[in-house]
């Protein structure tokens, strides 16, 4: 799209409107000027034709004719006239009167063009009463038709002269308006520019944005500034969290790799017996298993964190619980922990069976690891009684519990509750983070309640399938 400037648009819009107004004003003014002058001309025409009528005299002939007394009337330069008597007989006319000007038509005023000049013509019917001695005081009525034409060229000149004044004035006003408008718009838009400069300073490396005060004081800009602040703050939180994750992940991976490397190096420090080598290599293999486990857990977490859309398949939670408990039975048995499933009927949720299994085994493994010997782990899957009957999964243990200060952090990636990172019991500290990602990927929520020394309950609520 072509770049356009708000200032330019506003100025152009205002100027166009102003120009149209000026045109309307100008044409009204011109029309007014013209009609005033025409009216004045008409009055002049009337007067001159009156004089002409007054000059019509009884002719010195036996017929009842009239004539124009040249002593009574002399037409000004350029005027054209003609007087017709009864029966259309030409009584008299100005010298070399153009026939189109003195052609008889209807009474009244009209404009006529002749020899490249414009004329205003008036045609009047008049009655000349002529006193004669023989009629003994009673006048003889002689009807006549008078045509009188005056040049109007000078009228046009006058009107155009007046118009040029208005045009110059109008153009001057337009120019002044444009300059003033540009100046004011620049000042008005200054906060927008400041906002833009501030916004342009946002970088991935320094996610900070402080709305300039000038923008905050303008009602139209304030929402934009506020939105920018909120967005940037949100981005910063997300970036920080990602950065922390990457740094934690790097630490975990490097440490895990360092273990493998050191195990191999310890083995090669001296010549050792075959038995020592065998044990050492087994140790290396088990150290390597931990690296693989860590990588696979990080990939699992990444997979469920990325997929925001809900799975299309339905999974029966009850069935998956049975499957997972069966799979973990020997592990629980080795720790003398008993499973107490509480499942009634199918509990359908919208998620991939594999995701449900990862979620369940993580929760159940955690519960078993934190359980005291001889205690039980309760696993229930049911449809809630209230509302739209969402599916609820709960895993409860009666083990060590979690300290209240650690409770908000348990879903953080790489968070470990046990202070000395006992790798045997835990893993990388990704288990609950994975559970949270899975629960949220299927549109659900995960909650944890715990009391130190009493046990922990993790509850996952899913939206109805």
């Amino acid at each position: 799209m072509r770049e356009s400037s708000l200032t330019r648009r506003a100025v152009v819009a205002v100027l166009v409107i102003e120009f149209v107004c000026a045109l309307a004003f100008l044409s009204t003014a011109l029309w007014h000027e013209w009609s005033t002058r025409v009216r004045a001309l008409d009055v002049a025409l009337q007067g001159r034709s009156d004089s002409l009528i007054g000059a019509v005299q009884d002719a010195e002939d036996p017929a009842d004719n009239v004539t124009i007394d040249p002593d009574e009337f002399s037409a000004p330069q350029g005027d054209v006239y003609a007087v017709f008597g009864q029966g259309g007989r030409l009584v008299g006319e100005s010298i070399a009167a153009p026939p189109e000007l003195v052609a008889r038509g209807r009474d009244g005023y009209r404009n006529v063009l002749s020899h490249g000049h414009s004329y205003r013509v008036v045609q009047r019917e008049a009655l000349r009463v002529i006193d004669r001695e023989e009629t003994a005081g009673a006048g003889i009525r002689r009807p006549i038709t008078v045509l009188y034409a005056m040049r109007t060229d000078h009228l046009w000149e006058e009107v155009l002269e007046a118009a040029s004044f208005y045009v110059v004035l109008g153009l001057g006003l337009l120019a002044v308006t444009a300059l003033v408008l540009i100046f004011f718009l620049r000042r008005l838009l200054h906060p927008l520019q400041e906002l833009a400069v501030e916004a342009a300073g946002i970088r991935a490396s320094s996610l900070t944005f402080k709305a300039p005060p000038s923008a905050l004081h303008i009602r139209e800009l304030e929402p934009l500034a506020a939105a920018l602040s909120t967005t940037v703050a949100g981005l910063k939180r997300a970036f920080d969290s990602e950065h922390r994750f990457i740094s934690d992940a790097a630490h975990e991976l490097k440490t895990a790799v360092a273990v493998v490397r050191s195990s191999v190096q310890v083995l090669t420090m001296h010549d050792r017996s075959p038995e020592e080598y065998r044990l050492g290599l087994e140790q290396v293999l088990s150290d390597n298993d931990r690296v693989e486990e860590l990588v696979s857990r990080m990939l699992t977490l990444a997979r469920f964190t990325e997929s925001a859309d809900r799975a299309a398949v339905e999974t029966d939670l009850s069935e998956r619980v049975r499957w997972v408990l069966n799979k973990l039975a020997s592990f629980a048995g080795s720790r003398r922990v008993v499973f107490q499933p509480s499942l009634n009927g199918a509990v359908k949720v919208r998620m991939a069976p594999e995701a449900a299994e990862i979620l369940l085994s993580n929760l159940v493994m955690n519960a078993v690891q934190h359980s005291a010997r001889g205690s039980e782990v309760r696993v229930s899957a049911r449809l809630a009684e209230s509302g739209e009957r969402p599916a609820v999964l709960a895993v409860q243990d009666f083990g060590t519990g979690i300290a209240p200060e650690n409770l908000p952090k348990v879903f953080d990636r790489f968070f470990r509750e046990d202070a000395s990172r006992s790798r045997e019991s835990g893993g990388a500290g990704l288990g609950l983070a994975i559970c949270k990602a899975i629960a949220e990927a299927s549109g659900g929520t995960i909650e944890i309640q715990s009391e130190l020394g009493r046990g922990t309950t993790v509850t996952v609520s899913f939206p109805p399938a």
Binding site: A250, K254, R261, S262, Q265, M269, R421
Partner: protein, 229 residues
């Protein structure tokens, strides 16, 4: 020499301990969090501390700050996964003597540990000499007047410690502390037997050097001339 390894990754700590015991023959203690690290530094006089940064309870930086605050001059070698100019500058400013990024080479770790311990004792050369006795730290060999002397690992460690502190009275207790970790049964007569063996093996050098036993106080290694004066 006695070294404390502070590393929450148990397997890594074990491997470092094995390498330091089997390589330069140090006594090694292990702990897994910052609080234990401070307690153990109070309880024993270590010649070197290997410190991981991301450890529970107290982070490595805090452990370092508190150690230096207590005027502990023990050399500290920091083990970190984060390599960056900023963190390096911060660490060295906090009083770390050296640092290594994970994953590291155990051979390099041992070499750096040796160098730090040497410098911690104010010794610059890696070959120590007292009178006619020459001790090469990297090769772990001892010779007297050009003739190699065959020492057992413990005898070597006793001699190395004494040669790091020439002309100084070193108590049995101090020797025990620096040669054995907490897992060892402490018996002073163990030291006595080793010292007596050591003295016998060094006899070839006795006309120039003496390994004195100061009853009730400890041992002193010095060349004859210095001893007389």
């Amino acid at each position: 020499m006695r070294v404390l390894v502070v590393e929450d990754e148990k397997r890594l700590a074990e491997n470092i301990a094995i390498a330091l015991r089997e390589g330069p023959g140090y006594a090694v203690d292990i702990c897994h969090d910052g609080e234990d690290a401070l307690l153990m530094c109070e309880a024993a006089d270590y010649d070197l501390v290997l410190l991981d940064l991301m450890i529970p309870k107290l982070c490595g930086q805090e452990v370092l700050r508190r150690l230096r605050h207590r005027d502990k001059t023990t050399p500290v070698l920091v083990l970190t996964a984060v390599a960056g100019a900023e963190s390096t500058i911060e660490l060295l400013n906090l009083g770390a003597d050296d640092y290594m990024t994970k994953p590291f080479d155990l051979g390099e770790l041992i070499a750096r540990a040796r160098a730090l311990i040497r410098r911690g004792k104010g010794v610059l050369a890696s070959v120590l000499q007292v009178g006619k006795i020459l001790l090469s730290i990297p090769e772990q060999t001892v010779s007297v007047g050009g003739h190699a002397v065959d020492l057992s690992p413990t005898e070597y460690r006793i001699l190395e410690y004494l040669m790091h502190h020439p002309r100084t009275v070193v108590s049995q207790r101090e020797l025990l502390e620096h040669l054995y970790d907490f897992t060892w049964e402490h018996h002073s007569n163990v030291i006595e037997a080793h010292v007596s063996n050591l003295r016998r093996k060094l006899r070839g050098a006795t006309n120039s050097t003496v390994l004195e036993t100061l009853r009730g106080r400890g041992y002193r290694l010095a060349s004859i001339d210095e001893h007389i004066s």
